[in-house]
Symmetry: C2
Subunit: 457 residues, 2 copies
């Protein structure tokens, strides 16, 4: 896919984040003129009068009513822990954890990871309200449809300009799903989407830090709160998505409205969801798959002189870290992906552990990978040629990696992956029961059974 | 100021917000194929495994630690009510109320209303931590400086493209102020700003709805949480503001970095803060002032045949509602501003009451106002000519309205405005004491005295 990935890129900006941080942390108390200090007092007093004066406005009533729904706070579970928090915080934390390993689902047309924002919000809300499993599944399908359709309309411009599209569309998906679960009517749902439209979350610069998984978590929280606010009468523009100064035109130059309206209610974007076999960014998967295939052909690390990797430019833009310092950075290193594929034949979370990433043989092997850009190769493909110590070469081309729509994970693959993630937390036996409960969720009277099984004994 | 106010404007978009809302609210349960439903179950299970698997990651620990700071919840006051909520919710609610009347402060270079996000966050945090009044004032000056400097760097492009700049820069200002109050070091403060950078709030399409004041409230909440997260070890990119895919380049084409770095710590943007005499958008003020001056010259509504108003195009773009249906809409109607100025000689909150806005004589008078665009007139000016029933004309040109930097509100003006807002909530006597406490905040051992006086007896 040819496109402009250089929207508004100034690579020579001064380090203003750190410059401001030093100012904030170190500037002396009252390190300014009396006139400035007087203005601070005037600002404070004027602000306070406004806040006191509007305290009984219906907007305050509605917001306070929504906030009060979050008390008392032991409402919804942090999955995998014996800990309950208010449901908005549960949506946040579970949104963070579900994306922390970069191992969640991917809507391949947009690179949205839709479950993080949508399901984190829905499950937390359902645990508190006692909604049925069927209602949860319905809300999930519909919320994901909203997020991915808005994503389809704006992709790729929106993503190219710097938005982490999972968090920016995720707020809308979470709001839609929670509005559905709360049985809001059309008008209230319009308001929920409208409130959510003012809260897109996430920039791509955060990739490789904890703020990346914060994006689906923050979106889940914001979407849930948007639905609660709407349920209490909070208002927003009914054109908050599409208006000239609405969300979509503000955050994207491309807006193909038909992506939202065409076959709405007939075609469902969840059909194009995929699940990762590897615990890292989706664009690395073809390269890992190719190197794992090399390994299966007998190409072991000790035999390798160099690895020539040819990929689309986006792959290196997103995952071009040659010398990752830890596991989180390695998730954005196609070089580490290749080394893991060749060494282990896999790349689950444990192959991204800090002590694996910094291991001497892995460092050496990453340095043998020479990546070059070839935009005639699809983003979803990889071309790998290993040159061995004896001068011979072995070539693998992966058109579509395992886990892609064309080569999907089977249900058995998903169960195996689930055990790999959950056994250490819940034990294999309880994990097995939890898997059974997941398959049966559509028939469950409520989600308490799943919550109980996702809580360590 | 000549500039492009038509960034990416498509005025013919279908009503996708309502279309999606109807789908979310009305699509039947399981109104899709078995394949879609199966994919929903696969998505759910894959998401749950990821969430359980990462539950003990340090990101989850840090996020949970920050959330737990919000419990137990009776931490900070809703100003003007005898109600305490957790401090993040107090930041949200007080941010909403302080902007609800559109009567708060304005940093005129950027049209940012900086106190809403910054002070709402700081005061809620200070009430809980017991910080001194001096620390609150310091945090206020520094937080406002961060928000307004980032705003200066991006204005006007960022605003023109649709962002409500108060909420989009306000998250950073609130994060900076709370980081300061929490005494975070440079590195932690960098992380606080970084986490905040992923959470700009607010689109201009929301003007005239409750979601407009939600923007400073949401920014206050997000900024406070960003500082709490950073204090617990949560990480973000140290280049989250300036990187090519960081916040600023993602949300603005114009980024003048020197606006952030030049004279940092020497020049303070709070010096350019102003306070509204009128309870509506700042761009209407010159027109109200001009019409109030006409009234002072004896031009009463009964004598008026028509009012010719000439203003900059931005004034009509932002406040061109000719027939506002209620008080909230009237705040975005320069026509109502003119009618109020001519009828009452003022435009405080009560002149925007629903029953005033819909009054027959006000409707009639608004219809007599003929507004035309003249971009040779500054945004901060207004040219008004009244044609009377006898055919004579009276002309007033306002270069800078009262409340502007050139023609500022005095401290006595501010006290009178405060009484107008607060007396009905707290009574005149307590309001008087509260005003005294505001002037003395810099010397207060903590903010409990102010909080007590801002709480109705």
């Amino acid at each position: 896919m040819a496109r402009n990935t250089q929207v508004a890129a100034d690579h020579n900006a001064p380090a203003v984040t750190k410059i401001l941080a030093a100012f904030v942390a170190n500037h002396p108390s009252r390190g300014w003129s009396d006139a400035v200090d007087a203005e601070a007092h005037r600002t404070f007093m004027n602000w306070l009068g406004c806040a006191v004066g509007a305290t009984h406005h219906e907007a305050a009533d509605a917001a306070l009513a929504a906030i009060n729904v979050l008390q008392p706070a032991a409402q919804a579970s942090v999955l995998g822990r014996a800990t309950k928090v208010d449901m908005a915080s549960a949506a946040l934390i579970n949104g963070i954890t579900s994306h922390t390993f970069d191992f969640d689902d991917t809507h391949l047309k947009t690179i949205i990871h839709p479950a993080g924002p949508v399901v984190s919000a829905v499950l937390a809300l359902a645990e508190h309200t006692g909604a049925s499993g069927r209602e949860v599944v319905d809300a999930l399908v519909i919320g994901i449809d909203v997020a991915c359709r808005v994503g389809n309309a704006m992709y790729p411009d929106h993503y190219d300009r710097g938005w982490h599209i999972t968090g920016s569309t995720g707020t809308l998906g979470a709001a839609a799903a929670c509005a559905r679960l709360l049985k809001l009517d059309e008008q209230q749902t319009t308001m929920a989407l409208g409130i959510a439209a003012s809260q897109p979350v996430g920039m791509r610069e955060q990739f490789g830090t904890m703020t990346k998984p914060f994006h689906p978590g923050g979106a889940a929280r914001a979407g849930l709160m948007s639905a609660l606010l709407a349920s209490k009468g909070y208002t927003a523009s009914p054109k908050a998505l599409e208006a000239p100064r609405g969300m979509m035109q503000t955050v994207s130059t491309k807006n193909d409205w038909s992506e939202i309206t065409h076959e709405l209610g007939q075609r469902f974007e969840i059909s194009f969801n995929s699940y990762k076999p590897f615990a890292c960014g989706i664009v690395i998967h073809p390269s890992i798959d190719a190197c794992a295939q090399l390994r299966a052909k007998g190409v072991t690390p000790d035999k390798v002189q160099s690895i020539a990797l040819r990929v689309h430019s986006l792959v290196l833009e997103l995952t071009g870290k040659k010398e990752p310092a830890d596991g989180l950075q390695a998730k954005f290193s196609v070089y580490h992906g290749c080394a893991a594929g060749l060494t282990f034949g896999r790349a689950a979370e444990e192959e991204f552990a800090d002590d694996i990433v910094t291991r001497e043989d892995m460092v050496a092997l990453r340095r043998k990978v020479i990546a070059t850009v070839d935009d005639s190769i699809d983003e979803a493909s990889a071309d790998v040629t290993a040159t061995l110590n004896d001068g011979s070469t072995v070539h693998v081309f992966v058109a579509r990696a395992i886990g892609s729509l064309q080569n999907p994970m089977t249900n058995a693959n998903l169960e195996s992956k689930f055990h790999g993630l959950s056994d250490a937390v819940l034990g294999a036996e309880q994990t097995g029961k939890l898997i059974e409960a997941c398959w049966a969720i559509g028939n469950a009277a409520n989600v308490q059974g799943i919550i109980a099984l996702a809580t360590p004994r």
